[in-house]
């Protein structure tokens, strides 16, 4: 091959690289290994993690131990889905494009908003992307976020907002662990570009979304709701309650825990935001023979066309994870998502009662709830020794709940599991059936 090129050696090909910036030595890394050795090494590392099958875990706080059906693994491992890149050539990418279109439809159904994109990175950066859209749309300078918004979402919003030159102000929770409507109403002013709430909120509280939206939009700010898509199977959709933009973390939809990623974020909004959305959007069209087909559409929003005028800089997103999401939703189906969400709902309330501890959010909750644990260190010590993980300690993110424990319940946590945690937490007995 060198001959055809007219080069004498491989080195000749790098003649443009000035000597002074050449490495001049080997990269200082261990020598390459065979497949078997790399497998053994990484399996050895993996064995040093206590994963969700190694313990009974009530840990949630943004990612949840749901059962991922086997067909998702099978479909995602197909080279046809696994190994193409972004569908730039629609004629040979109808599979991926139609998946995007179906994904958009499912997200639109769940959120009650007419338009959805085909995924963004993940939850908290989706929240930040909504902030950017609010800036483009309103040209205002302030963002207001409920403390019921995931701490990571608030953090990501703050980080990104520095870039687009906005400030983020927080609205406290009530004594019942819900967003304080009055405080929200008070926090917005004519400079407020958007308000951010979460449904259910970080503590698992089912928020009065309509009231929040009304209060938050008082001065013309956009209302952004971060939502867990699974409870949306039984909760009134944000789009029906005055929410302009609904974003969220998609891990709960057929994605692995993966120590935090990759998963996907979703981004749905009212029709009027369609041309300001971030990320890829698939649209339906016809080919020259009149055949139905799908394309990447409204690309004039995107960085590769619009460059510095783009509505976002996102390029590579989470197509494979979003595929898992739409397959999962189709697997659950119209009735299944209701059954699953109701099971979670009932178990969540059962668990809160079974634990018999002081509830931080005593009102309606789904999938998660927060309690005060008098001897929280002791509980963790006892529980971990028995391979039970009681949940997420709120102290780091919420000094006001120093002794707070956030307990997540999914369809994988049986009543028996819950009773076990209750016993560890010192509850006298379980709840009567």
């Amino acid at each position: 091959m060198l001959g055809a090129i007219g080069a004498g050696s491989l080195d000749d090909l790098f003649a443009d690289v000035p000597e002074s910036v050449r490495l001049g030595r080997e990269i200082d890394l261990p020598a390459g290994q065979s497949e078997q050795e790399v497998y053994d090494y990484l399996a050895g590392l993996a064995a040093r993690n206590r994963h969700a099958d190694d313990e009974v875990t009530f840990l949630g706080a943004g990612m949840y131990d749901h059962y991922v059906p086997a067909l998702i693994d099978n479909l995602l491992s197909r080279s046809e889905f696994l190994t193409p890149y972004t569908p730039y050539q629609p004629e040979i990418s109808q599979g991926g494009l139609q998946v995007m279109f179906e994904f958009q439809t499912a997200i639109s159904e769940l959120t009650g908003l007419p338009v959805s994109n085909a995924s963004v990175y993940e939850g908290p950066s989706a929240v930040a992307a909504a902030g950017y859209l609010a800036k483009l749309e309103t040209r205002r300078t302030r963002l207001v976020a409920s403390r019921g918004l995931h701490p990571h979402s608030r953090a990501a919003l703050r980080t990104h907002a520095v870039g687009y030159g906005m400030e983020v102000e927080e609205v406290p929770l009530t004594g019942e662990g819900a967003t304080d409507v009055a405080a929200l109403a008070a926090a917005v002013d004519d400079d407020t570009a958007a308000v951010f709430v979460q449904q259910p909120n970080f503590l698992g509280t089912v928020e009065e979304l309509g009231e929040l939206a009304e209060a938050g939009s008082r001065t013309g700010a956009l209302v952004v709701c971060a939502a867990d898509p699974l409870p949306l199977g039984i909760l009134r959709p944000p789009g029906e309650q005055g929410v302009d933009i609904c974003v969220g973390e998609g891990q709960t939809l057929g994605n692995r825990l993966d120590f935090g990623g990759p998963s996907f974020g979703f981004f749905a909004a009212g029709e009027r935001f369609l041309r300001k959305m971030p990320g890829r959007i698939a649209g339906e069209t016809r080919d020259v023979d009149g055949k139905r087909g799908f394309v990447l559409t409204l690309q004039t929003r995107e960085q590769h066309i619009r460059r510095e005028k783009a509505t976002h800089n996102i390029c590579t997103a989470q197509a494979l994870n979003a595929l898992a999401g739409v397959v999962y939703l189709s697997w659950l189906g119209r009735r299944g998502i209701v059954e699953l969400a109701e099971l979670m709902l009932r178990r969540t309330h059962y668990a809160r009662e079974a634990l018999g501890l002081e509830a931080i959010n005593p009102g309606p909750v789904v999938r998660e709830f927060a309690v005060r644990v008098p001897d929280i260190d002791g509980l963790f010590e006892r529980a971990r020794a028995e391979r039970v993980n009681p949940g997420y300690r709120l102290g780091r993110d919420y000094p006001e709940y120093e002794d707070g424990l956030l307990v997540a319940v999914t369809e994988r946590r049986t009543r028996q599991d819950i009773d076990r945690l209750a016993a560890l937490a010192g509850a006298r007995t379980g709840v009567a059936a």
């Binding site: 090129i5 007219g6 491989l10 690289v17 000035p18 990269i27 890394l29 790399v38 399996a43 050895g44 993996a46 994963h51 840990l59 131990d65 067909l71 693994d73 479909l75 197909r78 046809e80 889905f81 190994t83 890149y85 972004t86 004629e91 040979i92 109808q94 139609q98 279109f101 499912a106 995924s119 990571h152 990501a156 687009y164 199977g233 825990l257 993966d258 120590f259 935090g260 959007i281 055949k291 394309v295 559409t297 960085q303 510095e308 976002h312 800089n313 494979l320 994870n321 189709s330 697997w331 119209r334 299944g336 699953l340 709902l345 178990r347 059962y350 309606p364 789904v366 009543r415 059936a433």
Partner: protein, 504 residues
């Protein structure tokens, strides 16, 4: 043959249209807690009135739907995919296996570090390896993709300057830059200033000098650049940029050309992002996921995102790995949790498989393959129509211009690309970089064989020869794909972005 194909006119249907009331795949686990009525547990105001219209479908039909859809995709495991700038290299199947190990895939991101030592060690080792490869000591794995890394880079730049009390408003990007670069600049609150390209394809130094003013915060550069050319003046560029107190940012999308050969850190870059999904093998996934870790020099380190993966105590395996949140100057979090760990597992498997010399081999062969294919496409019968844009030894990719074909044959780059679909190869990146008319940007990668390169050259030649006889063939291509040219303008004019039931 179409007239004998009873399925020729078949229209695709969405999964929603396959729905039939009463069918299901999912079966709920046994209800083991009291079946309290939902209305007792949720306020009426927050109760959904009608179920989300998700499909009702059985497992076999669900599988068939997506298997059938999948078969309409061209993919890397099917054939050659020289999509310039995307580094479509083979992702060894091992990577999927190790990523799927329950100890990785089923690990909760908030697991106590004490019980996640394996994961943290993997991240720590990956940081270490990436730092060594780029020649910059401090790595954050957090950004979710390249463009996210770019944003992180500019937020770091801003934090760095702010700490020094410097207020800067502009960021320089070459006119060859990838679209994410200027888009990032805007998102990061800076103004874009374009720098021109010299006749040799590198940065126009005069233009750079003119535009490198005190209010410039950063120059974003990829080297080799998007023309596939290594900028010989990189040291001078660094001097100019640093001279005005700006940072030099390395867009790592093209790192695949120079691993083990030259390191961005040694070239003078302050901040680098890696596209793990390009250089360090990910499955591509139809457009993701990926990850865009960043590496920085000492002076930028204090501002890195939080948390950082660190090792406390003893050096030789004796240490304990932890997440460090105590980073007072940090720009904060860019996203949830610690980043795309599943992506890290794959990339680290890759680095361990290849080792230091293997990575260098990879870059060398990537460059060899590109130059070989460039030579094949410089042959008579091709080069007249598709001249190389900047005729130098290229690195891992190169750019042709379709002007000759347009003028002499009446076919445009898009036509050539569409006709390639019939030949079973994926077209190169087209119409980018913007600087080159009717551009075709070709990146073969090192995992391709000589036969594949030769076949591609043959395909290009065949298309051009065919067009010389009858340009309409290319102009109306493709013919053999599941659908043919699609009405993209119509799709954008009257957007249909979700399915709706009849009558809705």
């Amino acid at each position: 043959m179409t007239e004998l194909d009873p399925r020729a006119g078949e229209q695709t249907v969405t999964v929603f249209e396959r729905s039939r009331a009463g069918r299901r795949a999912f079966v709920a686990p046994r209800a083991d807690v009291p079946e309290v009525d939902v209305s007792e547990l949720l306020p009426a105001s927050q109760l959904r009135e009608r179920p989300a219209e998700l499909p009702e479908i059985t497992e076999p039909e669900l599988v068939r739907h997506y298997v059938t859809l999948s078969s309409k995709n061209f993919h890397l495991d099917e054939g050659f995919y020289p999509l310039g700038s995307c580094t479509m290299k083979h992702n060894p199947k091992l990577h999927e296996r190790v990523a799927a190990l329950p100890g990785h895939a089923r690990l909760h991101p908030l697991q106590d570090p004490e019980y996640a030592q394996g994961a943290l060690e993997l991240m720590w080792r990956l940081q270490d390896a990436l730092g060594e490869i780029a020649g910059l000591p401090h790595v954050s794995l957090q950004p979710s993709a390249g463009s996210h890394g770019e944003l992180a880079g500019l937020l770091l730049t801003r934090a760095y300057h702010e700490e020094r009390g410097e207020h800067k408003t502009k960021v320089l990007t070459p006119d060859t830059a990838h679209g994410t670069n200027p888009a990032t600049v805007t998102m990061a609150g800076y103004e874009v200033v374009k720098v021109g390209t010299a006749p040799d394809g590198g940065v126009d130094l005069d233009d750079l000098r003119a535009k490198a003013t005190d209010d410039v915060a950063c120059l974003m550069l990829t080297n080799p650049n998007t023309l596939g050319l290594f900028d010989r003046n990189i040291e001078e560029i660094a001097r100019i940029v640093h001279g005005v107190g700006a940072t030099l940012y390395y867009d790592g999308a093209n790192l695949n050309a120079v691993m083990g050969i030259a390191r961005p850190g040694d070239m003078g870059f302050d901040i680098v992002h890696y596209n793990l999904h390009k250089t360090f093998t990910q499955p591509h996934g139809g457009g993701g996921p990926g990850a865009g870790p960043i590496a920085v020099s000492d002076r930028i380190e204090p501002f890195l995102p939080s948390p950082q993966v660190i090792r406390r105590g003893g050096d030789n395996g004796a240490g304990r790995f932890d997440l460090d949140y105590d980073r007072p100057k940090s720009i904060g979090k860019l996203r949830g949790f610690q980043g795309n760990f599943g992506v890290f597992v794959r990339s680290y498997a890759y680095i361990r498989s290849l080792g230091g010399d293997g990575l260098k081999d990879a870059s060398q062969v990537a460059v060899l393959n590109a130059n070989y294919l460039k030579a094949r496409l410089a042959e008579e019968g091709i080069a007249e129509y598709l001249p190389i844009a900047f005729d130098r030894t290229c690195m891992h990719e190169f750019v042709l211009s379709g002007t000759g074909a347009k003028e002499k044959l009446g076919i445009r780059t898009v036509d050539i690309a569409k006709r390639m679909l019939d030949h079973g190869v994926h077209p190169p990146t087209v119409y980018f970089p913007l600087l080159v008319d009717e551009a075709l940007m070709i990146e073969p990668t090192e995992t391709e064989t000589k036969e594949r390169l030769d076949q591609f050259a043959d395909v290009v030649r065949a298309i051009l020869e065919e067009a010389a006889e009858d340009p309409e063939i290319a102009q109306n291509a493709p013919y053999t794909t599941p659908v043919r040219r699609l009405d993209e303008a119509g799709a954008a004019k009257r957007p249909v972005v979700r399915w709706r039931p009849e009558g809705e």
